[in-house]
Symmetry: none
Subunit: 200 residues, 4 copies
């Protein structure tokens, strides 16, 4: 990529990033069209390629930016002194909402990459594919799970939570008007329900 991208007005940078996030999130790599990205960002075709060389370069940048931004947001948002298992999960979801306040489709994009099937795209991001997951694992390494029933399958519970969160986000995304706030409200309902089942 062309580093001069960062000299652009923040507003324009973000318009381009958000457009790419949205189109990639909604279509996957192969079916995301640079034309759509450009239209969404309100810039010309040439400019996109001026800064990102080619489609895969844009994808790579967007992935990098998303993981870094998300991790940063978690770092500044999550309070590790409160290490209750469900509390941590709620904090993580809260951090996601913070991310979406600035970049509405960033979490959806990161979720979508889990199912990417174009080799070129996968290879491009292979080495960074677990960085966000690892950050989250870090938080949960010292999580207090004493409130959970003894026989709880935590990994499964983690997965269930992940599935629930991803599914809720997809549902919100498909509504006519995409409202970020609705995400947290909705997701919290599921987490509270799961806590009611799971706690002693």
């Amino acid at each position: 990529m062309n580093e001069k991208f960062f000299d652009l007005k923040k507003e324009k940078q973000d318009r381009m990033i958000n457009a790419a996030l949205k189109i990639f999130a909604q279509n996957g790599y192969a079916h995301a069209s640079t034309d759509d990205i450009v239209k969404e960002a309100g810039i010309s075709k040439g400019l996109l390629f001026h800064y990102f060389t080619n489609k895969i370069g844009l994808y790579s940048f967007i992935y990098d930016y998303s993981t870094k931004y998300t991790i940063l947001e978690m770092t500044s948002t999550v309070d590790i002194s409160d290490n209750d298992y469900f509390g941590l999960h709620l904090q993580i979801e809260n951090a996601k909402v913070s991310v979406m306040k600035s970049y509405p489709y960033m979490i959806a994009f990161l979720n979508s990459t889990k199912n990417e099937n174009v080799l070129e795209a996968l290879n491009e991001i292979a080495d960074r594919r677990n960085v966000v997951k690892e950050k989250i694992d870090e938080y949960f390494a010292h999580a207090n799970r004493t409130h959970l029933k003894e026989n709880t399958d935590v990994a499964k519970l983690d997965e269930i939570i992940e599935f629930v969160c991803d599914a809720v986000l997809l549902r919100i995304l498909k509504e006519d008007e995409y409202r970020v706030d609705a995400y947290y409200t909705e997701v919290k309902k599921y987490l509270v329900e799961l806590r009611n089942i799971g706690y002693k």
Copy 2:
């Protein structure tokens, strides 16, 4: 689809099905080209569209056919009187091999749909996405897990087994000469190893 497809000679039907399975399995929906399918099947472009209307129609049919055939094969192959946990798993894998004897890429295709990311394709198969899984769950509903260590995370184990099976199939597929028999031999090694770990 055009029901007259079933009036074709069985051999020709299977040539078309196998070709579609192979190309979809190897490339995913978006990157599978109808040209390649037609070449592989040794039929004309026109014929493919005569029977399946369009690409998504073919995909839908192939998915339907694969789930139904796989379930049928399991029904006729799996012996539920032998309900030992690992025994059942081996029987399932055995059933897969039976399937692959007739349709070499059918299991690989079904595996590949787990990572499909084209909305159109996903929507098309959404309602039938878990039918094979449900059939398998059925077998395991009455499985005898008494030999497993008490604290075994069966779901996790199931997943591990699924991951192992999928990975082994992918590896076999990538070899120069694709030998179906090698699949069972290879997979069995992993399952036995897992049993050695997992049993009391």
Copy 3:
């Protein structure tokens, strides 16, 4: 290229060849647009690439076809029993006219490749670049030059003749209505003039 090209009706083959010859001759490799070729040939974009894979493939084929056709036409037209130096030159020009009767821009295209400067195009035709020249040299190997003045610089004269022919063709080409017959009439004038100067 796709050999099935030769199964097309001769008329259509020639329409495509002529279109390519014209556009390449007029613009050189880099500036010849496949859009223009397709428009000129009255076919669709897809068809061109169906038969020739890509632009350089088309260029290569057209060059091959042109050299072979031109040599063939010379072989069947030039009478080597009449080996007078100027007589041979006139016969060569006559052969060119025969070629242009079927493929109006073929000679112009071959001339244009002498000044091609795109590396990719040059590399593609490098090994066949002199085949027509060699054929002509063959005819002149046994030419009777006894009528020429002793101090005649034949090589130079050859070059002068080549320059004159190329220039005359370019001039004819630029006229509003391109008339192949005009070429021979015009070129003959120059050759006769040169003979008047050059002969004893």
Copy 4:
């Protein structure tokens, strides 16, 4: 072009001229990119178009400048009192070296225009295409060729010399470090060899 170009500091003028010479010489008109020229010159895109309106305008100016400068350099360098055939050739090559001392790619550029195939570019320089050649012919008009063997094909020899000079320059140009001085040393070897063959 914008005459105010000449009000720029000589150093900047030459930076722009040298950049254009280099990029045009290396790529031909069609493939020479204004981006590359601008980068090489260390100026902005806007400035180039401010002074030369468009690419063809720059090409035209560069050609004009090159022919004029080269002729001027010959005029001030070549000593016509020494009119020996090979002596004159060496003087001409010497003059080229003088030119290259100030404009390293000027001779290479002029050579490259002999093979230009973009009509627009050719038309632009058509009327001035032989001015340098004519200047050289002038020098050779009164050249003393008495030392040459009687049957020498001088035109051919001229051509051979031209081919040798052009080829040597190309070779020098392709070396990692482009050393102008090497040109004369190298070319002289060939000319001396040719003299040894050609003289009585």
